[in-house]
Each structure stands twice: as structure tokens, then as C-alpha cells.
Symmetry: C3
């Protein structure tokens, strides 16, 4: 018989995310152990407590979730967890600081419902933030070209350079940094538009959007008015507007939540999973395949 | 099928109250999420995590309890929670910082077992503290006149002014501030005496108590010797002494605990309850009615 | 019907031990309430919340575990908990800061499988640390003589003096402080060798070990290479080497874990247990007796 499912919630914030806590409970975690103010350098005893308390065949019943508002610190914590494992004594881990992985994956999965990502030309506004970077990586890996847009060209260039250093060259040849004030020029050949900017910031006017004559799918992940993309509603879910399919933040949110829960449940299927952007996207592809076959 | 019942315990203290935690668990909460050092200004993400994680029909399975030793800060947190709700996306809330609401309600309910509150003349010692203020409000709302006593007349006046500003004028006409050194004069017409002073402080001597010739019920909420009212025992529960019925802190405590648990359980009956003093008192009235009908 | 089993985990560290949390859950605790940064002087409200929330017959369903890396502070917390109880209103308590009690007890129990402790001559390396001191007490109480070894003779003398002040004189007559650089002299008559030094510190070379011609059992509790006792492997569990039986840290760990779980479960059998070194060792003796009778 299996022991209860225990999830350690390692959170870099002063208050561990109640959002992540509720989702964990709704993903059939039996006991949640939240830890606040977690830092990469203090992770070892927490990890050792997770890996040295159950027999090898029961280690899959313990897992670690890394959340919190500072996505970069979450990545450092993830690396520190990995380093603290002792050979086969390890537990599965999911990284989703600020929901960045599940959000980026869900957005890309929504797009994939309406156009082939292979060969698509995507423009990512707010492309240097955690969600933007993750969406860029996923889109490139699926064969899309990506205009990565930032108000600051230098930051866009640095981010593209960083992404290029992490992925095969064949995949990143279509990656181009773009300054926000030059975005009109790249909109003309854009088939997929993704707005990942800060909450409550208008990124494109309706006039600008009209320039994107090839646009098939527009996704705005900003939930706080005004919309990042003028004319898109936060509730839009595959809303047809002319030739365009629109998604708002809440329209993407349903799949994001489903994916978050599925990923937590997946953690308890083995003791050696490390669910970062790509692995979470793959779980999403599985969900989408199951959805299509049941439809 | 309903999702598990989750209670967020928002506590302003460094250690979230273990008292509130045990009572929550004994009220059939499935998962308790305690948060320490909570401040009104940091409440938004905690509330959003509660309201944006479950579907509308399941939001009643999530609730928030506000506790901690600083009752004023608890009230601020309650207001901040309300402000953070987004339209129908909300969860039920209970305020009971330092047990002040359940204690005040239980004390008034104990009194109501023995005399009609309508037309009673109540004297509240320690009337400017959280329990005293709450008991005063409840007694006024039930039609009693209230002498609100404090060592400091100015504080008594300020408190009465504050109470009068919150309640209908018809209800507060019988509210009178009294300095503790003038209390003998008001004891003569007092039918209900309630001692809500600090732990271990003697408020009235037996000689003073003897002045209260009309006194029907005396309740002392101080659990630490010496008694606030000389001659009343902490264990007294409807103890007859001459013409007087006495209650001590533990004598009231049974009903307080029952009420605390009933209020927590009530939270999960809907997603839009806000249980403050009056609502908790009303739950107590329901308990008392059920008790009488089963007796 | 019994109410759910609640365990308060009072931990002096910034992050409550995840090790202790997982073990508690695996010992059938229904609800774990972890508290971080606990200090002896802040224990009263936590204890009162534990003892004043359930009826007398249900108090055995609430218990307190004291853990954390600072064993001395854990002892102070334990004393403060005891002082906060109110007559029969109390709950059971287990002290196991840094696993010191369960580790010391398990090591002594492993030894007792292979030689009579009564009349044995034990040498304890790292004898002034929490595990060493506890093992020394247990061995003396079982009738062994003990050479308590420290790099610092003065600390060894102080520790022996402290132990002698706590136990009957008849029991401590065989207790002798020894400086680490004089250890060769005491090895010649040692039948039981226990290494309780710091992680990753070599305490005895193979050459020195060879001096211990009477040695029957050698136990090395250091899990981090190099071994405390040269030639002993961390996985050794009753490994025969010549005339000697060897145990490494993981070899002792199985019994330590079993004992930790059994002690947590024992907490919920009554509301007045106080499980410190001797009581935990006694639970271990019961486990060993059950093991032998079932073998």
C-alpha cells in the first residue's frame, strides 16, 4: 500500500502562495508542507528530509514544488534541489514560480489548437519576462520563428542570446530581438501574437493590431485592465474576431489550471521527474491529445 | 462531489494560534493553511489564491479565518480581504481575533438564558477592550441599556462614541460611559454584570457586588486568579448564589467552543458569508434555539 | 469516536524539519502543525492552544514534538512545555532535537543485539555531543562502564560531571572522561565502541582499531565520508569483520526510523507521556522484544 502523498512547497516569498497550496490539494496531495522564505543555500536539509525518510519504492509518494513570485530565485532553488539529491535517493520536482511554466505552456497550447506552430511566425510582447522567455523557448522548439519584443532592445538582445545558448542552433535561427517602438514592422508577417507584459499595461492599440494582416491567433495574458492588446477581453476563449482567434487571460486560465493539476499529479508517478518548462508543456500536449481523442 | 474543505488561517502573530488551528480541525476542515505575521497590506495575493483556484460552485469549500492576538489588526485584515474580492469571486470569512467575537457572543448568550436582554440594564467592566466593546454592541442590539465602564473615563466616552456611530440611534440611547471609580452608583440598577477586564485583575470586591441589589446574572470572563468579580469561580456555570446566577470563564467556555466550531462549519455552507460579531451571535442564537427544542 | 490526531511540531530552526514532518505523517498523524523559530519563552500560547481545545478524554489525540537542530534549545522548550501544563490539562510530548534521542537509543539497541550491556566497557568517541551524551546515559543505566572521549579533556570532564549529577551514583561509577589523544590506552579493554563525532571527521584509524582486541561491536554514526572509524562502511548492519560486529550510520538508521515512528505513535496512547531519552529507549526495548518473539 502506498504511503500518503506529501508535497513540499518551497516558496521564496514571505507567505507561501495560497494559490499553489489550493491547487496542490485539489491535485490529490494528502499532506502539504509549505516553507516560506526559501533560499537556494538553505535547501539541503529540506531535500534530505524528503529523500531520507521513505523506502526507495515509496519515494514517489513525496515530491517538491518550487513556487513564489521570484522566478529566477525559483530556478536557483531548483538547481540546488537537484544538487542535493544523493544518487537514486531523489524525489520528483516541479518548477512553476509565479505560474510562469504552466502559463507559458497553456498559452502555446491554446495557439496550437488553431494554427500549426511549425512554420508559424510568432511575436512575443513582454518577451524578456519569465512567461515571455518560456513561451519563446517552447515556440522555437515547436518550429516557429519568434520576434522577441521588449521596450529595451538591449534586454531583448540579451534574452535572445541567453535562449540561443540553451537550445540547438537549428531551433533558434528564427529568433529575433525587437524593440517595442519597432514592433509595427514585424506585425505584418506575424501569425501568432502573444502579449506577456506587466499587469495593466497597454502594449498594442487596435490600430497597430490592424497592421497584422496575417494574424491568426492573438493571446493577451494580462488580466488587469486595460488589456495588453486593445479589443481583447480577459474572458476571450477562442473568440473569433474577423480572421483572428482571440484568447484573454481567463480564457487561457482554464487550461493553465488543468495543466497545473495534471503536472502535480504526474509528480507522484515516479521519484525522478524534474518538471520544468518543456516537461510541463509535454504534459499539456498529452492533455490536448486526450482531449481530442475524447472529442 | 465537493472538493476538500480548505481554511486559510490568517494570523497577525509570529506563531499562528494553535488554539484556532485545533478548533478548525475539529470543525471538519480538511486542510488548514496557517499564515503568520499577516498584515492588511499583504492580504491580496493570499485572497486571490483563495478565490481564483476553484470553480464558482466549489468556492464555498474554501474559507478564511482571521485570528491573532491583535484584534484591531484582525479587523483591518478583514476589511482588506473584503476589498480584495472580485465580484462574485469571493469566499466566506470569519473574524475572531483573540477569540473576541465568540467570547462576547457566548457571554451574552449565557446571560440570555436567565433574563430577558430587552429592557435589561447591563454594566460592562473592562468595556473598552475587544470583548467588552463587542458585548456592548450585542446587548444594545438586543434592547438592553449598557453602562460601559473603564478605568479611564475618556476612553469609555470615546468607545461609546464609536459604538454610537456604528449602530442606529434608537439602539444606543441607553449607552452610558462610566469611570471605574464611579461604578458603585450604576451597580444599584444593574441586572446583568459582565467583567471583561485584563487577566488577573480584581475589578469588583464582594462588598461592591452586594450593592447590586437588582443583579440577576454576573459573568466574569477572567480565567486567571484573582477573579475579576470577587466570589465568582472560574468554573461557575449557571451557579446560583442567592438571587444571582454566576458564570466564570470556563463556565462560559463550553458554549464559546461550541459556537466557534459551529461558526467554522457555517463558513462552508456558502461562499459569501462574512462572520463578524453579529453574525456569530446569530449562529449562537440558532444553537440555543436548537438546544431548547431538543431539551 | 476519536477526534483526528494532531501533532504540533515545535522547531527552533527557521525551517521546521521536513524529516520530522514526513516521519510524523508516516506515523499516522492526521494533521501536522509545524511551528518555526520556536523559543522556550514563546511556548505558552502554543501549549495552551493544545490543552484547552479538547475534552479530557480527547486530549490524547493532540501531542507535541520538539525538534530542530539545536538540541539544547529543544531541551529548554521541553521544560517550558511541561511548565505550561495546567494540572491534568496536558498532552504528550516527545523530544528528539536533531534526532539525538532516537539515534542514541537505536545505536545502543543495535549494540545490545550482540553483547550484554551489563558489564560491557563502552568507549564513546564524540562523547560530549548530544548523541554521545545520550548514549552514555543509556549505557550507564544498562550497567556498562563508559569511557567518554572528547578532543577537549575539560569538556569531557564537564560532561561526565553533568551526567553524574543526573543519575544515581551506583550507575555512574564506571564513567570516565578521556582525552582523544589518550584514547589508545582505553581501547584495549573496550568491548563496545561508539563513534558519535561530527560528520566527515575520521576519529580512529584502522591501526588504532586493531588495538581494541576485546572489541565485540563497533558503531559509526557518521554518514559523511570519511568514516569516523576507518574500515566501517555507512551501510554496515551487523557486518562481521573478524571477531567484530560493525554498524554504519545507515545500518543503524533502519531501527532509528522504526523507533521514531513507534514513539510518535505512542504519543497518542495517553495524554501525559513525556518521551525523552530513557522513555524512547524503553519503546525501543519493547520493539526489540516484539522482534525477537516474532523471529
Amino acid at each position: 500500500m502506498n504511503q500518503p502523498r506529501i508535497l513540499l512547497q518551497l516558496d521564496c516569498d514571505q507567505q507561501p502562495s495560497s494559490f499553489d497550496a489550493v491547487v496542490a490539494i485539489d491535485s490529490n496531495v494528502d499532506h502539504l508542507l509549505p516553507y516560506a522564505n526559501v533560499e537556494a543555500q538553505s535547501v539541503v536539509p529540506l531535500v534530505h528530509g524528503a529523500i531520507f525518510t521513505r523506502g526507495p519504492e515509496q519515494l514517489k509518494q513525496t515530491a517538491i514544488f518550487v513556487g513564489g513570485s521570484d522566478v529566477g530565485r525559483g530556478d536557483e532553488i531548483g538547481a540546488a534541489i537537484r544538487a542535493a539529491f544523493v544518487g537514486p535517493m531523489r524525489v520528483s520536482v516541479m518548477l512553476d514560480g509565479n505560474g510562469s511554466n504552466t502559463t507559458a505552456a497553456a498559452a502555446v497550447l491554446c495557439a496550437a489548437r488553431h494554427l500549426p506552430l511549425e512554420g508559424a511566425t510568432a511575436t512575443i510582447l513582454g518577451g524578456t519576462g519569465p512567461v515571455g522567455v518560456r513561451a519563446a523557448r517552447l515556440l522555437l522548439q515547436q518550429g516557429a520563428a519568434v520576434h522577441l519584443v521588449s521596450r529595451n532592445l538591449e534586454r531583448a538582445e540579451q534574452t535572445c542570446h541567453q535562449i540561443a545558448s540553451e537550445l540547438p542552433e537549428a531551433v533558434t535561427s528564427g529568433l529575433q530581438p525587437t524593440a517595442a517602438d519597432q514592433v509595427d514592422a514585424v506585425l505584418t508577417d506575424t501569425s501568432l501574437l502573444l502579449a506577456c507584459g506587466a499587469a495593466g499595461v497597454r502594449l498594442l492599440s487596435a490600430t497597430q493590431l490592424a497592421l497584422a494582416s496575417q494574424l491568426q491567433v492573438a493571446i493577451d495574458l494580462n488580466a488587469v485592465p486595460p488589456a495588453g492588446l486593445e479589443g481583447i477581453d480577459v474572458m476571450d476563449k477562442a473568440m473569433q474576431r474577423g480572421n483572428r482567434i482571440d484568447y484573454g487571460a481567463i480564457g487561457v486560465g482554464g487550461l493553465k489550471m488543468k495543466l497545473h493539476r495534471a503536472a502535480i499529479q504526474r509528480l507522484f508517478s515516479a521519484n525522478d521527474l524534474f518538471l520544468d518548462t518543456s516537461e510541463i508543456f509535454q504534459i499539456g500536449l498529452d492533455l490536448e491529445a486526450a482531449r481530442q481523442s475524447s472529442a
